[in-house]
């Protein structure tokens, strides 16, 4: 049971983002972490391989050389080895990313399963896993919060609006995008972090893989800070007065109810 987990090295969502130039960010001084949704994928991969009794969890990351930290993090949690595809540009379109992941994986071995988070918290694309699946001719389900391995298949559940759940059967090998609810990601303990330093990480440059796209790709033209609302208009009076004033404002001025 060989499971490849695609992990992205992203800014911690708690930190401020400094925009640099027209369309990139200042990464220096910014705290980076494993993409939160990828944590569910790493955890699921480790448990699945453990239950199978044999196999490996291989982490694959496309990113700059700092991204090795996220690979080490995954290794500390329990993945067996890693592959870093080095790319210096902060933003890489999802088609190129998916192709880089595909080539890195197929050069390495035969995947039984490919897992990753449902989306990255920086570019919020929600699509790399679909492109990866298409490149491999594998079926794919995204935003999966329940997964069960079967004979030559996986049965997953994903939630759609209204709390309704789709139960989907996919033939293996397949690609699955994980989301919150799939499992409880474990945290690495210090001995595991130290052990992880000895696990193998292969590094290669994205130029070695030949991922240039023939057709059009998404192009990030501009990145801008979001203007926050300014301080609230505080409504005063007794509890009853405040409530009545608010209803009046919402109905008559703002016309939202």
């Amino acid at each position: 049971m060989n499971i490849y987990v695609c992990v992205k090295h992203v800014p911690d969502t708690a930190v401020n983002i400094k925009i640099s130039g027209d369309n990139t960010i200042e990464s220096k001084g910014c705290k980076f972490v494993v993409n939160p949704y990828d944590e569910y994928a790493i955890e699921e991969a480790i448990t699945t391989v453990k239950n199978a009794g044999q196999g490996e969890v291989i982490v694959v990351t496309v990113g700059n050389s700092d991204a090795i930290a996220s690979i080490r993090n995954a290794l500390a949690i329990g993945a067996d080895r890693g592959i870093l595809v080095k790319n210096d540009h902060y933003f890489l379109d999802s088609a190129s990313t998916a192709l880089a992941l595909k080539k890195a994986i197929e050069n390495d071995g035969q995947p039984d399963l490919i897992l990753m988070g449902k989306t990255s918290v920086d570019s919020e694309g929600l699509q790399t896993q679909y492109r990866l699946a298409s490149a491999f001719n594998m079926p794919i389900a995204n935003e999966v919060s329940k997964m069960e391995m079967g004979e030559g298949k996986v049965i997953v559940e994903r939630e759609i609006e209204g709390g309704t759940r789709q139960v989907i059967e996919l033939k293996t090998p397949c690609v699955i995008g994980a989301t919150k609810g799939l499992n409880e990601p474990r945290y690495p303990k210090l001995p595991d972090i130290l052990k992880a330093k000895k696990k193998a990480v292969q590094e290669l440059d994205i130029s070695e893989l030949g991922v240039t796209q023939d057709g059009p790709v998404a192009e990030l033209i501009k990145l801008e800070a979001v203007a926050e609302r300014s301080a609230a208009k505080i409504i005063d009076g007794s509890t009853q007065e405040m409530a009545q004033k608010l209803v009046k404002i919402l109905k008559e001025e703002e016309k939202v109810i």
């Binding site: 919020e124 139960v167 989907i168 033939k171 059009p216 790709v217 501009k222 609302r229 409504i235 405040m242």
Partner: protein, 317 residues
């Protein structure tokens, strides 16, 4: 005139209201021809529901005997064939769970750029606007000049009624089913309340809610405004609300006309999920809560007193 396909989301054979703003966007004030695509549901019954927002053609999309709702992959392939046959300039849809899934399959299959959860669309230069970095920045992204593929966040574009005639088009796509995946069951949730991501009014409770029972106070208030009830991560982690109620970065992204946060501090992660709301109101006992620095209206008070008072005022108003 550009031809824009809009994938229409149907539930119980009814056109969901979240489609309306997307149709309006596709029409671009009548500049574009809009093909409302029905992969399920009765097209004849529903064509006027899309016609009034600017759709000019209602398409009944089929792929032989395939059940397109049970197989999003086949649906995507059928859409690709339709786009080629009709020479579409774009295909857009609401960025709901189903919408973003089928659009991603279509984009992967055609190997074309796609942007999901967009808040603005500009057909003139094939660009869209969407969040990057969990709502902290907005990104302008340029897509394909051949076929623009885009998912629009529910409720961000106002629906606009217009007069337009709508014709019918039957299209049967010749697509292969590789037989690799299938939706084998749909598990309906208990309640049929409006989903958070589609609600026009949301009342959210934070950690001070303290119990599951207390959320009923918010429900009564929200009901009077035809709204939904949300919860902060703290409330969910505390066991007072289910994860499906969570608004925020690791929960749902919402964009209602009115968002009332009760006992919310206003964390960055929570705002990532609701900052495109039209009007944000905060109720908190702490006058220094960060939320008061970034919302439209504030009431400094105890939610357990203010929310019932609000309910009363709504009943009487």
């Amino acid at each position: 005139m550009a031809k824009i396909g809009v994938i229409i989301e149907v539930e119980n054979n009814e056109v969901k209201s979240i489609n309306n703003g997307v149709i309006t966007a596709a029409s671009a004030e009548g500049a574009n021809e809009v093909f409302a695509i029905f992969a399920e549901g009765d097209v004849n019954l529903n064509k006027d529901k899309v016609g009034i927002f600017g759709a000019t053609v209602a398409v009944h999309l089929t792929a032989g005997n395939a059940d397109l709702s049970a197989n999003p992959d086949i649906q995507a392939r059928a859409l690709g064939e339709l786009a080629k046959d009709q020479n579409f300039d774009g295909i857009i849809a609401v960025s709901s769970a189903k919408g973003r899934d089928v659009l991603a399959r279509l984009a992967a299959f055609l190997n074309l750029p796609l942007a999901l959860d967009c808040t603005q669309i500009n057909f003139g230069d094939n660009s869209v606007v969407k969040s990057h970095f969990s709502g902290k920045t907005v990104a302008t992204v340029k897509l394909s000049p051949d076929l623009l593929l885009c998912g629009i966040r529910p409720n961000v574009i106002e629906e606009k009624e217009t007069t337009s005639d709508i014709s019918l088009l039957e299209y049967d796509a010749k697509v292969e089913d590789p037989g690799l995946m299938k939706i084998i069951e749909i598990k309906q949730a208990g309640s049929h309340k409006v989903d958070l991501s589609e609600a026009n009014v949301i009342v959210t409770g934070g950690r001070p809610m303290a119990t599951v029972e207390n959320f009923k106070i918010l429900e009564v208030c929200a009901d009077l405004m035809n709204g939904a009830v949300g919860a902060s991560r703290a409330a969910v982690d505390g066991g007072f609300a289910t994860h499906s109620m969570q608004v925020g970065q690791t929960g749902k992204t919402v964009s209602p006309k009115l968002y009332i946060g009760c006992g919310l501090s206003g964390s960055v992660q929570h705002f990532a999920g609701m900052k495109t709301s039209k009007i944000i109101v905060a109720i908190n006992t702490d006058k220094d809560a960060p939320i008061f620095g970034k919302c439209d209206y504030g009431i400094i008070g105890d939610l357990f007193e203010v929310v019932p008072a609000l309910t009363e005022a709504l009943k009487n108003g």
